[in-house]
């Protein structure tokens, strides 16, 4: 049995340790402080019982409340969809003029479209839909596949050269790489396309290329090079170039025939979301 050692001066029990005649007092903690420790222990035990606490070999203890933040998120998303249901429904059935005549619905569509764009489209088309080389700018008035709301909605749904059976499909041949044309013919065609866009070009080359353009290009780009939206063939007479405006850019495109891929969103986004997205893209300024 441990014998209590009481300090004579303070009357307090000591720990029994002594250094050079100095003893360490074993002052008891205030009762309320001790109480908080026991309260914390009781709280911890209660917490183990009601909340998810202990990891097991394959899983964890769920606790009496069966609380799960993942379930909370799921429930919140369901509630969100329910709260939006009326407007989503209105969005699906309304035509573009109807939506534009209804400021509330338009605002709803633009907000949803903007968020969807940021999540799914901005990676290629840019945060402001300003595009990049090979990725069309969605702000301007140049559209490969048409700029009406219906056109945009359809392009988003099926994609371009995508895996969808209904995909928008076009193929610019690789005239140089596949040896369809001789290198000097590709050079001449390059001058011809520069000429089409209204820039100064080598007149003799343009003359040589005129029959070549009629034979090889006009079927898709049109006899005047104005393009054809049915086939996704770009207008060659304007100032917008998907793969660059310089002679070497144009030569490279005739030689290699680049064609980008846009995925199909039909299976991934709901029709209402695609409609909202189309309205957003349409509202960027180029919508027809």
């Amino acid at each position: 049995m441990h014998k209590k050692d009481i300090d004579q001066i303070s009357g307090t029990e000591t720990t029994g340790h002594e250094w050079d005649g100095i003893k360490e007092l074993d002052t008891p903690m205030p009762r309320w402080w001790l109480g908080t420790f026991f309260a914390c222990i009781a709280w911890a035990i209660g917490y183990w019982v009601v909340m998810p606490a202990w990891p097991l070999l394959n899983g964890y203890t769920h606790g009496l409340l069966n609380h799960s933040q993942r379930d909370d998120v799921t429930a919140n998303l369901v509630a969100l969809r329910a709260a939006r249901a009326a407007k989503e429904h209105a969005l699906t059935t309304a035509t573009l003029p109807q939506i534009q005549a209804n400021p509330d619905l338009l605002q709803f569509a633009l907000a949803e479209g903007k968020a969807t764009f940021g999540d799914n489209c901005a990676a290629c088309h840019g945060a402001g839909a300003q595009g990049a080389r090979g990725y069309p700018n969605l702000n301007d008035d140049v559209w490969l596949w048409g700029g009406t709301l219906v056109d945009i909605q359809h392009t988003i749904t099926v994609g371009v050269r995508s895996t969808s059976p209904d995909t928008r499909q076009s193929q610019m041949p690789s005239f140089g790489r596949d040896a369809i044309l001789k290198p000097e013919q590709v050079d001449d065609l390059t001058e011809y396309v520069v000429h089409l866009s209204g820039r100064p070009a080598d007149a003799t080359a343009v003359k040589r290329a005129t029959p070549l353009f009629a034979q090889n290009c006009a079927a898709c780009h049109g006899p005047a090079g104005k393009g054809n939206r049915q086939m996704g063939a770009p207008n060659l007479t304007d100032n917008e170039w998907l793969y660059g405006p310089k002679r070497e850019d144009i030569h490279d495109q005739i030689w290699n025939g680049h064609g980008g891929v846009m995925p199909t969103w039909g299976g991934r986004l709901s029709p209402e979301t695609i409609k909202a997205l189309a309205i957003y893209v349409h509202s960027l300024g180029g919508g027809e």
Partner: protein, 504 residues
């Protein structure tokens, strides 16, 4: 006759003295007396004695006024038409509006609140420089509720001596009953206080119904519970410790006061040397203070005003009432303790006359600041537009080049209608030769474009301005957006920029 005290004369002689007839004498010491000051100390319990007098009645009146304002203001109705709330003073968080009688503040006008805070602070400085800590003594919520809680305590447990005895007494059923009753009534006041606060944030009558049917929001109950707790804790249990330990104002005040500021002052030029006085004894060669310590006994802060101006003193004047009563009984003039200035005490000690200097550089400066800030706010309130607009240019992309070389810039334009009726406002753009202006939702428009905005709402529009290649004068041109009402009585304009990148 009982010997109640001794005084020590200047030559070290102790003389037993008797109290004057009708004067109570208390054995009490100042809670902050210099002799007993420690770094760490437990609270010295204070049992302020009830007192009656001019300042006590003023305090009761101020309590009635301030509590009435607090409890009743949310119930004042104010007709604002069918679309806006009918509460005179309302902070409407959900709809982002602040209503104050005929004024309605939008979130972007929060500078009015800044102005109010500046006015409140400088007014506090001015009042302090002129009349001392009137705020602390009469209108601070801490003072008002502490006073109310002490009043409740006195009604239940009795006056100073009874409360002091009860605190020391063992826990008998009677003590338990008294304490329980006191805390129950405190809690009732606390609940009423916490409950009243939430009415400033929602329509009071409907919230009252929701509150008692259990269908108000969790936030409402949490706010009410939080304020119930702070009222009970700060007013009932913490009391003077809030002023002494928590409140920054006593520290600031200590730096801002000067010798000419009125404050509750013990006129030591008249009171010293102090000492007990026996009825019929001569007053020659001694001060008027009979050292009865009634000033300490009534003090809600538990201090001794005779120690001079001090941080703990809230200038409530209760010691003046107590001392005036005593002076009356011993047949000396009132005002041994009074609202006076330290400068006057020093003047009288030098044999000069008292003199009050209310016009001093600092009071003039504070008054000027109040007039300027108040004037600016009033002017701005009086000339406020009932319409407004904000313009934000697209930054990504900065500009869009169209197929024919024309350039388009996009702007988000917010058109605000501050009236309580829906209005057709007219948006105009000048400064650039626009080939076309398109508003998403309205299509291509001719200027000025008619935009209908609902009552008390902002309408956000996406405006696309296209300038033909031939009209592009420089890479960056300035343009002006303006919005006006139908008869052009009110026009508000703001400048923006049209950017065309590399092409001039």
């Amino acid at each position: 006759m009982n010997v109640l005290n001794t005084i020590v004369t200047r030559n070290g002689q102790s003389i037993p003295v008797l109290a004057a007839e009708g004067v109570a004498r208390s054995e009490v010491e100042a809670s902050n007396s210099a002799a007993n000051r420690q770094l760490y100390k437990s609270r010295v319990p204070i049992y302020p004695k009830e007192v009656d007098g001019r300042y006590r009645r003023l305090k009761w009146a101020m309590m009635a006024i301030t509590l009435s304002i607090y409890y009743l203001v949310p119930w004042i109705r104010w007709d604002r038409g069918p679309l806006a709330p009918h509460q005179a003073v309302l902070v409407d968080m959900a709809h982002e509006r602040l209503y104050f009688f005929f004024i309605e503040i939008w979130p972007q006008e929060v500078y009015y609140i800044t102005g109010l805070l500046i006015l409140a602070a400088v007014s506090l400085f001015l009042i302090n420089a002129l009349f001392g800590r009137l705020w602390c003594g009469y209108s601070c919520p801490q003072t008002v509720w502490t006073d109310l809680f002490i009043w409740v305590e006195t009604r239940i447990e009795g006056d100073r001596n009874a409360r002091s005895r009860l605190a020391a007494a063992p826990w008998t059923p009677s003590k338990i009953a008294k304490r329980a009753a006191k805390h129950a009534i405190w809690l009732m006041f606390a609940v009423a206080t916490g409950g009243a606060w939430v009415f400033y944030f929602a329509d009071a009558p409907s919230l009252l119904h929701l509150f008692f049917t259990g269908s108000a929001s969790v936030g409402t109950y949490a706010t009410a519970a939080g304020l119930t707790f702070t009222t009970y804790w700060l007013g009932g249990l913490m009391r003077e410790q809030v002023c002494t330990y928590m409140c920054p104002w006593p520290r600031i005040q200590a730096a801002m006061t000067d010798l000419d500021a009125l404050s509750v002052t013990y006129r030591r030029d008249r009171g010293e040397p102090r000492g007990s006085h026996k009825k019929g004894e001569s007053w020659d060669g001694r001060g008027d203070c009979i050292d009865c310590k009634q000033c300490v006994a009534v003090c809600p802060m538990g201090i001794d005003i005779r120690d001079g101006a001090q941080l703990e003193c809230i200038n409530c004047g209760l010691c003046i009432d107590a001392c005036d009563d005593v002076m009356h009984r011993v047949g000396r003039p009132k005002g041994l303790i009074a609202y006076d200035t330290e400068a006057n005490v020093l003047r009288r000690l030098k044999g000069e006359k008292s003199r009050f200097r209310f016009l001093r550089p600092r009071t003039a400066l504070y008054a000027v600041v109040i007039l300027v800030v108040g004037g600016v706010m009033l002017t701005s309130l009086a000339t406020r537009h009932t319409l407004d607009l904000g313009v934000m240019r697209d930054r990504n992309p900065d500009y869009v080049t169209l197929a024919d070389g024309a350039v388009r810039n996009g702007y988000t334009v917010s058109v605000m209608n501050r009236t309580d009726t829906a209005r057709d406002l007219y948006l105009d753009i000048s400064g650039v030769a626009a080939r076309s202006v398109k508003i998403i939702g309205l299509g291509a428009v001719t200027l000025p474009a008619k935009v209908s905005v609902k009552a008390d709402k902002v309408r956000s529009l996406r405006v696309l301005v296209t300038v033909a290649k031939s009209e592009l004068k420089s890479t960056s041109q300035s343009l002006t957006f303006s919005v006006s009402d139908a008869d052009k009585r009110e026009i508000h304009a703001t400048h923006a920029v049209f950017i065309s990148g590399g092409q001039p």
